[in-house]
């Protein structure tokens, strides 16, 4: 995958308000020590957007601010035009339809693949509905179907990441936040993960906002990108443009 996919956001077929808007958000764990000092970004329906930047720039904090895990001190977070600033994590899931794939391994290791997927929809009472969604995820990831009875902890790192992504889809999310989908995986597996994200985007129109340490691969898999440094956005644009940008290349892509 070298070329970046064309952004659906720039086509005329997709007008209207963005799915997620982060407007001038300042956020941090302690008052007076804001990690984000005015971040603006938006994600349109059907887009894959990647946030890159050095360690400690505030990439993860952007997610936490959206997901209600860190208090937003000023600015707003909008989902579908609705104010969801400082929403609780449970409401982010239930009300806003945002799910998260965290960076650290988050499968339930001693539960089977099937049970892990069930947990992705633990708030759903109708068993038939859960089964329907599991079949849907198995269709997207036949590999998971093969391993359905296996304890998740015995699978490879790449398969576990697939399971985490599959689990995040159980809820029929409108937006999936992925925190470093490539973390801790071999390059070959990373490519498979990004290919899977790309496929989901094209097949089911999945909207993804991801953070990537691996800037080149992350951007290559995305429509648009943002560069965050010192708690604010310093560059933004189509992923292909960022990949070609002289400054971005020097700073983050290891090119002189």
């Amino acid at each position: 995958m070298t070329g970046c996919p064309e952004s659906p956001a720039v086509t005329a077929a997709n007008p209207g308000t963005p799915l997620l808007q982060v407007q001038d958000v300042r956020a941090g764990y302690f008052a007076g020590q804001d990690i984000l000092t005015g971040v603006d970004l938006e994600v349109h329906r059907g887009e894959i957007v990647c946030v890159i930047g050095p360690n400690g720039a505030g990439k993860s904090t952007v997610f936490k601010a959206v997901y209600g895990l860190v208090p937003v001190r000023s600015g707003r977070v909008l989902c579908d035009g609705r104010d969801i600033t400082n929403i609780s994590p449970q409401d982010a899931l239930r009300v806003a339809g945002i799910t998260i794939v965290p960076q650290l391994r988050s499968v339930f290791e001693q539960m089977t693949v099937h049970e892990n997927l069930e947990m992705g929809m633990v708030t759903e009472r109708h068993k038939a509905r859960v089964r329907e969604r599991i079949d849907y995820v198995y269709d997207l990831f036949p590999r998971l179907a093969e391993r359905s009875k296996q304890p998740a902890g015995t699978m490879s790192g790449g398969e576990q990441r697939m399971l985490e992504i599959g689990r995040s889809l159980m809820f029929e999310p409108r937006l999936v936040l992925m925190d470093e989908p490539s973390a801790g995986l071999a390059p070959k597996i990373t490519r498979q993960i990004f290919a899977a994200i790309d496929r989901l985007n094209r097949e089911i129109g999945l909207t993804v906002l991801m953070i990537e340490q691996n800037a080149r691969q992350g951007l290559e898999a995305s429509h648009r990108g943002y560069v965050i440094e010192m708690g604010r956005i310093t560059h933004e644009g189509r992923a292909a443009e960022l990949l070609g940008d002289h400054q971005v290349r020097r700073a983050f892509l290891g090119v002189r």
């Binding site: 449970q90 988050s106 499968v107 339930f108 290791e109 001693q110 539960m111 947990m119 633990v122």
Partner: protein, 297 residues
């Protein structure tokens, strides 16, 4: 040979008693990472409730057990809301100290209320079935075994197949991930603790005709529960049954084959077993709900 058969029966019967005694302790540890040092005191309170029912109203402990379950469930919920909820994210030392404090309070309160006299509840399910001259089955223990096996099977089904049971297992394995998928972890902990204390109270009720009911009966029971749980796997329902059976059998055999060891010294057996298990298989003999991990407990 027939002595051996009797020791076998005694071992299984003892194992059944240990099973019902250990389940609540094991699941609280496995799910919440809390070592409930007041476990034996919750047994003791349950035993007193059953003794009161027996002594004041002439109700059999096997009949009052469901009521004891409900009362202890509510008591457990209260303790969870007032105390345990506040310390759940703190280091394990904090919960150890808090639960130790609870154990001392319960001992003292019961001593003030009922004095330190030994009591026994009456049950109609007592005596022994004589199968032959040298083989008898103790009736009370037999029925305790039946209850223990039933409760174990029920818990296994609950944890394995119900939505709430799965949430409990999920929270035990990965608290953060459970939160992310929308599990209300606080609620899961409250339910777990209440349920386990209810069960622990039932254990106390069932042993009230066998083991002297008194304010200081708890600590040895806590120690045994600790040994069986650490040996068998934290929060493993099958492990609790297996570990309890192993320990019951070992104690019964020791009593038969080692002269003058007495039942008191047989207590040592649980710790010898524990040390052996920890050396040979530190993750527990059975697969538990949580990995034994110095940082997580």
């Amino acid at each position: 040979m027939s002595y051996f058969a009797q020791a076998l029966v005694n071992g299984i019967a003892l194992g059944g008693m240990y099973t019902i005694l250990v389940l609540g302790f094991s699941i609280i540890w496995g799910v919440m990472g809390v070592i409930n040092l007041a476990h034996g005191e919750f047994v003791m309170v349950g035993a007193y409730l059953a003794w009161m029912a027996s002594d004041f109203w002439d109700v059999d402990p096997f009949i009052s057990a469901p009521v004891v379950f409900v009362v202890m469930l509510l008591f457990g919920y209260l303790v969870q809301r007032v105390l345990v909820n506040r310390i759940i994210d703190r280091s394990s030392l904090v919960s150890l100290l808090v639960m130790f404090g609870v154990s001392i309070i319960l001992q003292s309160v019961m001593k003030i209320a009922f004095s330190a006299d030994f009591r026994l509840a009456n049950t109609d399910l007592d005596g022994a079935w004589r199968l032959s001259d040298q083989l008898t089955i103790p009736v009370t223990r037999f029925w305790i075994l039946v209850v223990a096996v039933g409760v174990t099977a029920g818990l296994g089904l609950f944890l394995g197949h119900s939505r709430l049971g799965k949430s409990i297992r999920a929270a035990a394995q990965n608290r953060e991930a459970a939160r992310i998928v929308g599990v209300d972890v606080k609620k899961v902990y409250a339910v777990t603790f209440a349920l386990c204390i209810g069960l622990t109270g039932v254990a106390g009720a069932l042993i009230s005709p066998l083991l002297a009911v008194q304010p200081f009966q708890g600590p040895p029971l806590t120690l045994k529960a600790f040994a069986i749980t650490a040996m068998a796997g934290l929060g493993s329902v099958r492990g609790a049954l297996g570990g309890a059976m192993v320990l019951g059998m070992v104690e019964a055999m020791l009593a038969l084959y080692v002269d003058r060891i007495g039942t008191n010294l047989a207590v040592v057996a649980s710790f010898v077993l524990l040390v052996a298990a920890l050396v040979l298989r530190p993750q527990g003999i059975f697969k538990g709900l949580r990995h034994v991990d110095a940082t997580s407990t």
